[in-house]
């Protein structure tokens, strides 16, 4: 059984994930979507795709003089200079959220179309509806909420769930909010068990975690 995981450092920390782990530190949701597709085009369909959504304000830029490799292309992560410009271009969380909702809706449709089972969940954002109160142009959230392959975004956050259930984190992250800490590899069994139960209860599906 081929399993594919593709998130940011929060996915990368799941060292014992029993499959291909394309997660990359500093990665954005756009990267998770983009490289999942590239990987599938290059390698064929996996049996299950897992996407832990990283922080929605992340984006990526391309530096072809620094990198030009398969799957990743010339995109680079890390460095925060461009976020200063990003902040000028968007004065609220709306853009990041709205595009996240749109891209996961589209990705889910693409994976469905190819017959690839998948599960998408928030890993670090801890979405709260009050942050988007009053915004127009967000009816697409209905499409997200109607999709059983997306764990209800306003009810579950992977990092917070690990914290609430005894997960241990890297000491260096102790100053961070519990939903943005990096948890130790051993703690990911907590997340795995949650995902396993969700897949069984909601999707009537099961994967072999080995």
């Amino acid at each position: 059984m081929t399993l594919l995981l593709n998130g940011c450092s929060y996915g990368y920390e799941w060292k014992d994930f029993p499959g291909y782990n394309l997660s990359q530190s500093g990665g954005s949701i756009a990267r998770s979507v983009r490289t999942t597709i590239e990987w599938i085009v290059a390698n064929g369909n996996p049996d299950y795709v897992f996407i832990p959504l990283t922080l929605t304000n992340r984006f990526e830029i391309a530096k072809i003089m620094e990198q030009n490799i398969p799957i990743e292309g010339p995109y680079i992560t890390g460095g925060h200079t461009h976020y200063e410009i990003g902040a000028k271009l968007s004065d609220s969380c709306y853009l990041g959220w709205d595009y996240a909702f749109m891209y996961i809706t589209l990705l889910s449709a693409w994976l469905d179309q190819r017959g690839v089972k998948h599960l998408i969940w928030d890993q670090a954002n801890m979405f709260d509806r009050k942050d988007i109160q009053g915004f127009n142009g967000m009816e697409k959230l209905k499409l997200v909420e109607a999709n059983p392959r997306i764990i209800p975004l306003f009810d579950f956050c992977g990092n917070q769930y690990m914290y609430d259930n005894g997960g241990e984190w890297d000491e260096d992250d102790s100053h961070l909010e519990t939903n943005t800490r990096h948890y130790k590899n051993e703690s990911y069994i907590i997340l795995q068990e949650y995902l396993e139960k969700y897949m069984k209860d909601v999707l009537n599906e099961k994967v072999e975690w080995k």
Binding site: R34, I64, P74, Y99, L106, A109, N136, G137, E139, K140
Partner: protein, 211 residues
Amino acid sequence: MILLNGCSFGWAWQSFPGVNISKTGGSFYRSVRTTVEYCASNGNPNAVLIPITFIDRDEYITSISQDSIIEGPYSVSTASTELKQLNETFNMLSDTSYATWDRFFLTLTLFCAWLEKQNIKYIIWDQCNKFDKVHLTGYKAINKFKYIEENKNIVDLFNFCANQYMYDNGAIITDPRTKVPSQAHYEDQYYKVLANYLREYIKQHNLGIDL
């Protein structure tokens, strides 16, 4: 009901026989986003028609933004000098046009899958870019392009540009801003030329869209 959603080149098609939510200065990402939003708000149309605008356009949310149903609080990147400059600065963070192409291919591929899952008929074509494959030479991680080439609902991007086609078939440039045929705005009457081309394409490829 059929839905048209592009930029000013779509808006100029005033006699379009359906709902036209094209917007001047709009990006391809706006077309995708607002089409999804329109469907979520109003139900699915029978068919969606997307004339692809300049793919290096983007959209932002700033204090000058609007906030309306379907459109949300976005500003197009051409809305003001300040935004134009910011858009340029942002684009300059990359040292290549790769990201512009790749993001476009990615979004187009995903959007098509979504429309198909919704059972919405669609046709998508380049309106003004006049794409050339030479600009993709040497790029890696662009394999997703094969989905676009295989998709009969997307008019061959490298062999058809609607504005150029209208010009080549008699449209007259009255646009004071440009004399470049692929980038000029044409009067509504010349969209008959485009409509006829699309009708023939729809028929040949059995897309089932009543234009």
